[in-house]
């Protein structure tokens, strides 16, 4: 076991299902994840791989149709899954912030920006209204919003998408959270605005001791912003490690495929693609969930599902190919 006091968030063997009228959807199938204090971790994967479900599980904001079957989530030394909903509210109020993809949906359209920031500050820090207004204006100007007093008097619809996302970030950061979960914070925005927002998040992280879990489908964003990366596929983290290690030497065939596909850079006549599609999450095969699309799969892959194998304590991969290598040559 590693020293736990450096870890702000750990997820162990988390299973989540959704009950739908079409059957039970196995959204998360044994997720392992660790976020260190002050660390930024990118969570990447394609649509439906469970990235957002994982993010919502951590703050216990899952839909009623979802059920956490088993697993452990430990945040700041405390087990999240044993908390009462009142205690959870306290945690969300003070320690964990969330930013969602669509700031338009996340901001209340009938309240002024200022009121929404003030409310967040009053809830988390117990400030008086006047103090909260002062503090809110300070945060907004820190985020590069010109004329922050005026913006606080405006309603969300009067602002552009990039501006609204900045307001969301302001609200999320107003309480100096220990952990920020950002779920696709820039995928609604244009690239030049995206560059601004990512720069902003990176800068803020350097100046505070905040940890970041950045959920995205864009490998480029992870390479730019994060220190570690967790690659998800069909409800499992199939590869986890330092960004540089994973990007330069991906071990899981899915990560290899994903990186090849993401590398559109350069003159090529034909693009690499990963054949096939993700398995039906209602009827999971017994073996590796990637086996049907994997160019290297062998009979063991179809029978037994690989779990995460730790390599030299820093990196983990869920793949039999890697395990066989480790057995032969030892870890690392």
């Amino acid at each position: 076991m590693k020293k736990l006091d450096n870890i702000i968030l750990s997820v162990e063997d988390l299973h989540v299902i959704f009950k739908t009228y079409l059957g039970t959807v196995h959204a998360l199938n044994g997720v392992y994840l660790e976020v260190g204090k002050g660390e930024s971790v990118g969570l990447v994967g394609e649509t439906g791989c469970g990235k957002s479900t994982l993010g919502l599980s951590i703050v216990r904001l899952l839909d009623e149709s979802a059920k956490i079957v088993r697993g452990k989530i430990v945040f700041n030394g405390e087990s999240i899954l044993e908390k009462s909903s009142e205690e959870m509210r306290e945690i969300r109020r003070k320690y964990i912030s969330l930013i969602f993809q669509d700031p338009t949906a996340a901001l209340n359209p009938v309240h002024k920006i200022g009121d929404q920031i003030v409310e967040a500050l009053q809830m988390s820090k117990g400030l008086k209204r006047a103090e909260a207004l002062e503090e809110g204006a300070k945060i907004l100007s820190m985020l590069g919003i010109p004329d922050s007093r005026k913006v606080m008097e405006q309603y969300p619809h009067e602002l552009s998408g990039g501006m609204r996302q900045r307001i969301m970030i302001a609200i999320a950061l107003s309480k100096n959270p220990l952990l920020l979960i950002a779920d696709e914070p820039t995928s609604n925005l244009d690239v030049t605005i995206q560059a601004q927002i990512l720069e902003l998040i990176s800068d803020l992280r350097k100046n505070t001791q905040m940890s970041l879990l950045l959920i995205t489908h864009d490998m480029g964003i992870v390479a730019q912003v994060c220190e570690k990366v967790a690659v998800m596929y069909a409800g499992q983290v199939i590869e986890f490690g330092k960004v540089r290690d994973v990007f330069k030497n991906p071990l899981h065939p899915y990560t290899q495929g994903l990186l090849k596909v993401a590398n559109l850079v350069g003159e090529k006549t034909r693009l690499e693609s990963i054949p096939g599609t993700i398995p039906d999450l209602r009827n999971l095969p017994p073996g590796c969930l990637f086996a049907s699309r994997c160019p290297y799969s062998f009979d063991k892959c179809l029978r037994i599902r690989p779990s995460n194998i730790m390599l030299d304590g820093k990196r983990s991969v869920a793949c039999w190919l890697v395990e066989d290598k480790v057995n032969k040559f030892g870890p690392g």
């Binding site: 244009d190 690239v191 560059a195 990512l198 864009d218 390479a223 990007f247 090529k268 693009l271 693609s273």
Partner: protein, 311 residues
């Protein structure tokens, strides 16, 4: 293309300058990539070319004929030659029709084929776009996003068009599926020598797809030319910023990132001068905010609209 915006009773409507004085040409078998951010007028531009929108002024020449001047009957003959693939295959396929009808309808409208012949054609198209004949009686909801986009492509190529307007055809798809669709589009282009107008905001993608590029900003083309030329030597400050803003999946590559200040201004009654002036770091007060730069030829086939770019 200007859109009137009602401002209330008795006030004259404001004009939204969606696309302003834009010119380009595409040869057979060639792809022009139209790149720009949301609201820059890329889609409007394509819709004008197809005459889905009637432009306020200008000409669209298709095989030397100005299609904007044709009456409805004459234009109907041209329509099968010019097709479109939309961004969202979930919305562009009729959920109540089977693929037999979705792909077969163009034949019913524009040819005299019998039902049996149409079925043969539909099956041929399904196979060509990488599906199989068994899909013919399925409904769109039974397909994945990538499969739906394949159907949309099959419908677009059904009548052997010479031009297809591709409006962000892969931006609603996952990267691994995106690559499959792009490969398919390239195969089809090579086989039939179709001209593509490819609209996207994804720089990496356009690098792979396009032969020529047009960079749009607020309804104007700021830079235009051969892709290889623009990528190796981007001239306009906006083009440079756009290229540097796109994240590259390589942790070792630390690019000199140009972070633009501010956001795209509103295209309603735009101010005089360069449209990029407010965000430009080279802008010269008195020149750039007063005089609109013309699109001039910088080197052979490479056009740029900027006062600050000198030979």
């Amino acid at each position: 293309m200007y859109f009137p915006i009602k401002r209330g009773f008795r006030k004259p409507p404001a004009l939204l300058h969606a696309v302003d004085d834009v010119s380009f040409e595409i040869n057979a078998g060639e792809t022009l990539g139209l790149v720009g951010e949301s609201g820059s007028g890329k889609t409007t531009c394509g819709k004008c070319v197809l005459r889905i929108l009637e432009p306020t002024g200008g000409e669209v020449l298709f095989e030397d004929k100005n299609i904007l001047a044709l009456d409805d009957r004459a234009f109907k003959k041209i329509r099968p030659m010019m097709q479109m693939v939309f961004q969202d295959p979930f919305l562009s396929l009729n959920p109540r029709k089977t693929l037999r009808n979705i792909i077969g309808d163009p034949f019913k409208l524009h040819t005299n084929l019998s039902d049996g012949e149409i079925e043969k054609e539909v099956k041929r198209l399904l196979v060509q776009v990488g599906l199989n004949e068994a899909f013919i009686d399925r409904y769109p909801h039974e397909l994945s996003g990538g499969q739906k986009q394949r159907v949309a492509i099959a419908r677009a190529v059904a009548l052997n068009p010479k031009f297809i307007f591709l409006d962000e055809p892969t931006s609603s798809l996952d990267v691994s599926v995106q690559a499959q669709i792009l490969n398919l589009l390239n195969d089809i282009q090579r086989q039939y020598n179709i001209a593509y107008l490819f609209v996207t905001h994804n720089i990496h993608l356009i690098k792979f797809m396009a032969d020529k590029l047009a960079i749009m900003y607020l309804g104007k083309i700021l830079e235009y030319g051969l892709k290889s030329e623009i990528f190796s030597n981007p001239l306009h400050p906006y083009t440079k910023a756009l290229f540097s803003a796109a994240p590259i999946p390589d942790p070792d590559l630390k690019m000199e990132r140009i972070i633009l200040r501010g956001e795209i201004p509103t295209p309603i009654d735009p101010p005089p001068g360069c449209r990029f002036f407010k965000r430009c770091w080279l802008g010269e007060t008195g020149l750039c905010d007063k005089v609109e730069p013309e699109l001039v030829e910088f080197s052979s086939g490479h056009f740029v609209a900027c006062h600050k770019v000198k030979k």
